[in-house]
Symmetry: C2
Subunit: 208 residues, 2 copies
Amino acid sequence: MRRIAESTVRRLSLYLSFLEEIEARGVPTTSSEDLARLGGTTSAQVRKDLSFFGSFGKRGLGYSVPELSARLRRILGLGRQWRVCIIGAGKIGAALARYAGFTERGFIVSAVYDSDPSKIGSRWGNVKVRDEASLERDIEAGDYQIAVLAVPADSAQNLADRVVRAGIKGILNFAPVQLTVPNDVALRAVNMAMELEALTFAITNKVD
Amino acid sequence: MRRIAESTVRRLSLYLSFLEEIEARGVPTTSSEDLARLGGTTSAQVRKDLSFFGSFGKRGLGYSVPELSARLRRILGLGRQWRVCIIGAGKIGAALARYAGFTERGFIVSAVYDSDPSKIGSRWGNVKVRDEASLERDIEAGDYQIAVLAVPADSAQNLADRVVRAGIKGILNFAPVQLTVPNDVALRAVNMAMELEALTFAITNKVD
DNA sequence: CTACCTTTGTGAACTAATTCACAAGCTCCC
DNA sequence: GGGAGCTTGTGAATTAGTTCACAAAGGTAG
């Protein structure tokens, strides 16, 4: 498949969330114009984004909401269950472990890993805190495809290396460092400092 | 000033974090090549990014680390203190309130707002939980320039409207909805579902 | 002072992403 | 069945972003 732009993928994800919303309200069809309005883009952009993957609409009529959302779910790889582990049982790890959003989207979080013996063995809702030492074994056993890194900056690269060696397929990094992984491993980062700095840049250099 | 691409701002932020790291190690100068290697980009990109704001290096020699990092801080708007409030004292709000990263970067978080009477009045470290009803009054009094939204999806737009009306300058949104704000208000969003879907897309449609 | 080495800053070339604009296709209605 | 009215899908045009490539400038050594 032709390489798809990152911005396209983000928008597909956005369209899917709109589709799920209007599907829940029972609306049967929608148009590129509707999706564009909701997503703050243009109808041509919506159609172009979809066109990379096929042709899902009916001319003159628009898109079937259930059909398009099913197609987008499949395109985004949501047609299966993904098992996720969280690494790091600190503030962020705890918030993530308790966050319902994962489950709602079909991601199964069953364990948090930490090296602190006082935390290992406890339970947070459905989530167990396990010993970081068993991380490799569990990944190799196929327990997880995705790891969420919620550890301090200085141990993030080391843990990334470990989960990569154990065969993880994707990493979502919350530590404020730039990680290096082989390019057959998917990597995304959420960096609060970067987001805040983008805000202060925009406020400071306002164009208006 | 000419419009600066979002990708450029993200990279500036990244360069700054590298500069702070090498500054702490006492390294006096660096080059576009060094910064490129750390940031996974090219030296031409680094120089182009900086060139939008001026000319900070010495040919043949590179950049003075303290000077360049000071310049970047100023460009990113970090030359002043920013007061931030967190809205929503749930899981994510709590994690954010306790997160040290804000303070390290010069952002002052002094309060979390919520409407739940059982939470109002308590203290989490240095952070007070205040009544959401007083949000407008406090923003109008100039207590905050930036609001972090950590509320459920269905109340996020309403709260965004309220803080905008009260005169907030920037919003960092953690709720999984697309917010609409006037374009003189800076807006960024952290959307976990979107990040995870970008991962599953990449894993599912692997090119290699 | 000169020759040589290094690294910046920046137009020009290129590549990627977005927007335009319109033919093609579907529906409805007379 | 044919015309009117929509909305898609997509090449072409445009705009944005990145990379190239090199002159200019600073440093150093002889």
